[in-house]
Symmetry: C2
Subunit: 439 residues, 2 copies
Amino acid sequence: MRISDLRLYPIAIADPPLRSSYGLHAPYALRTIVVVRSTDGIEGVSETYGGDGPLAALESLRDRVVGTDPFQLTRLWLELSAQAEPDRAEAHGDRTQTWLLPGENPLDRHARSFAAIEMACLDLIGKALGKPVCDLLGGRVRSAVPFAAYLFYKHAGGGGEGMDSREDEYGEVLDARAIVREARQMRAQYGFREIKLKGGVFDPDQEIAAIRALREEFGPSVPLRIDPNCAWSVETSVRVGLALREELDGGGYLEDPTATLEAMAEVRRRLLVAGVATPLASNVAVTCFEHVAEAHRLDAVQIVLSDPHYWGGIRHVQHLSYLCHALGMGVSMHSNSHLGISLMAMAHAAAASPYLTYACDTHYPWQHAADEVVLGGRVPIVNGEVHIPERPGLGIELDYDQVARGVERYRKLPYRKRDDEAEMQKRVDPSWRRVLPRW
Amino acid sequence: MRISDLRLYPIAIADPPLRSSYGLHAPYALRTIVVVRSTDGIEGVSETYGGDGPLAALESLRDRVVGTDPFQLTRLWLELSAQAEPDRAEAHGDRTQTWLLPGENPLDRHARSFAAIEMACLDLIGKALGKPVCDLLGGRVRSAVPFAAYLFYKHAGGGGEGMDSREDEYGEVLDARAIVREARQMRAQYGFREIKLKGGVFDPDQEIAAIRALREEFGPSVPLRIDPNCAWSVETSVRVGLALREELDGGGYLEDPTATLEAMAEVRRRLLVAGVATPLASNVAVTCFEHVAEAHRLDAVQIVLSDPHYWGGIRHVQHLSYLCHALGMGVSMHSNSHLGISLMAMAHAAAASPYLTYACDTHYPWQHAADEVVLGGRVPIVNGEVHIPERPGLGIELDYDQVARGVERYRKLPYRKRDDEAEMQKRVDPSWRRVLPRW
């Protein structure tokens, strides 16, 4: 079996006006749908970051991918890694997501591109062999993968514009009371048993109040996490950590309170001195295997957020889970705006990773059924879990009519790159700049 | 596809009178051949540690293995790991190979048993799908796996006894000159391009002389390693490291010079202070994922010797290679007396592990063609390499007549457990005791 064709579909999907320390989500999120087709006519699919950059990066791999054996992935990884070195030198080495949005750092480009190919090849192999992806990787440790409610502050309305707008049921969410309402709605619909609040948007006292309101509403059996994406100083991070010592206890965590591993380590030290053991998590400062050792050495991070999309695929999430377990670190999973293909890739990665013990993040509730490219519609999340179906590969097929609609939306868009700061300036405050730390 | 049968064949194979700090190899080494048979009549095989202990440990898993899906391995790993905990508490926690021979520590029993099942299942899956094992694991990073010449001090004659004795071509090897002759013979026959000397047998000055003689004979293009299995004090280890600073340079290493990670760390510190960067390797102090972090933290070990047989299978060697790479540590591979099935399992593990960059150890030259259980005879080692054949699974089939002969030899043996100290007392010196450190 060889790969006879690689097809790339750049799509746009409606995305609500969600806020974070990076700024504001634009009316459309960009994704790329990747299809590898085998000489026997079987198709493997994956979904990854969108826009012209990721598309061009994948396009540049066409000659390396077409004609090759989909089982031979590790060699491709080593080739792409080796070639990433010059880039790294040019960019003076900040391979994090501190300054650039996930999906935008050129130093991770090879890992993202490889991941998109790997996930599509694993789907292809699974379909060729009649096996679910997780069972190709040593077998599942769970058949139902828990995800967390991912709460955002947001402006009114859903995503999209004009004919394509998708009103959402959450409306404007700009204070603690609305956050609790959002959480209730999301839990009612999906059954999530853990909750994450995307912070870094308002004054930390307001966000402390939001977390406290969530704890009051749902009680201590629902673990809580807050993620301000580095918006805070060390001082503020410690202050929030102390204030929320009870609320983030019992399975919760404090994610990327401040920028850089050194500053995270200082936050950790000060919290420990004060008797607060709330673990610090990161998907900003720790984005690749090279970062893990340093994060561990400094005790800057106790939980690493994996993500098959930029860690280099599903097998790398498995490797990361063993690595973190060996170092006594926890593993969770990061998410970006995505559709059902990514959700299934994440679910298979989690199902096959023994030491991934936190509910995974997912933006899935923020996307709309009208944009789903999975045949048969949205992947169900029931009791907060995605079930691994007894179907081969990732367990989904592409709805090409829906893909075509996504491509059409993409074609019409005036932008080809995610830029939350520009969007914030355009829609909310022309003088807005991303400043770290803001508080 | 389900596993319908598990068959265990305890065998004995001739083994020459090889010396190490553990004592003397007995005339027969013990191995267990494991066969899993699927409901479709396909067989997967593996080879592991022998004797009554390993046999009973595998036998105790029969009910967990028969009737299960050979793809569902990770769950079995987690179950066995969880049940290993009580053992660990009982044994007060020294899960190393310092005091007990590889294969004998009860704290690693679950990892060894799981590995034997995992390797047989991977062979079965490969045969069912028509794919070589390494290509089921992300694909090979090399199609030819380099092994090292594994030199031993030894007494005259080959292994076995009476009708079953297998004279070897190496004769008595008890000094530097004979070691060079042994190396020449082994290189001529197998083409090895790296050399390991099993030390810890004679006064360190004699072993320093042997390494120097090897360097003189083969020049700096042939990397050298020496492994006294903890026979030396910190002082002696440092002295040898300084004496061999040039000879172990350029791809060589100093393996387990002394017992315990703390003492290895002290050796490392003193060597570095003296400007000697020879890396320290270990298969004695580092035998499981839990040890790696501590070895790294102390900088006690710079190269970890993997081994699918006790690290928990072929996938674990892959995970270990990513772990060590992330920590900036090297990876090599350990070996025990074995036949061609283990050789192929090791070759597939190395082929699928991107960051395993040293030639693997192998005892294979010390075993005899008459004892091989692989159909068609011994696996060839050419130019020091084992080629991954384009055959499914591990690439070998069992010769059941040969297995029966091995079982018969086992039945006749008066011992059921490796005991190099007893053998040393019996054959060489009744007063001999394993003392650490000896020098």
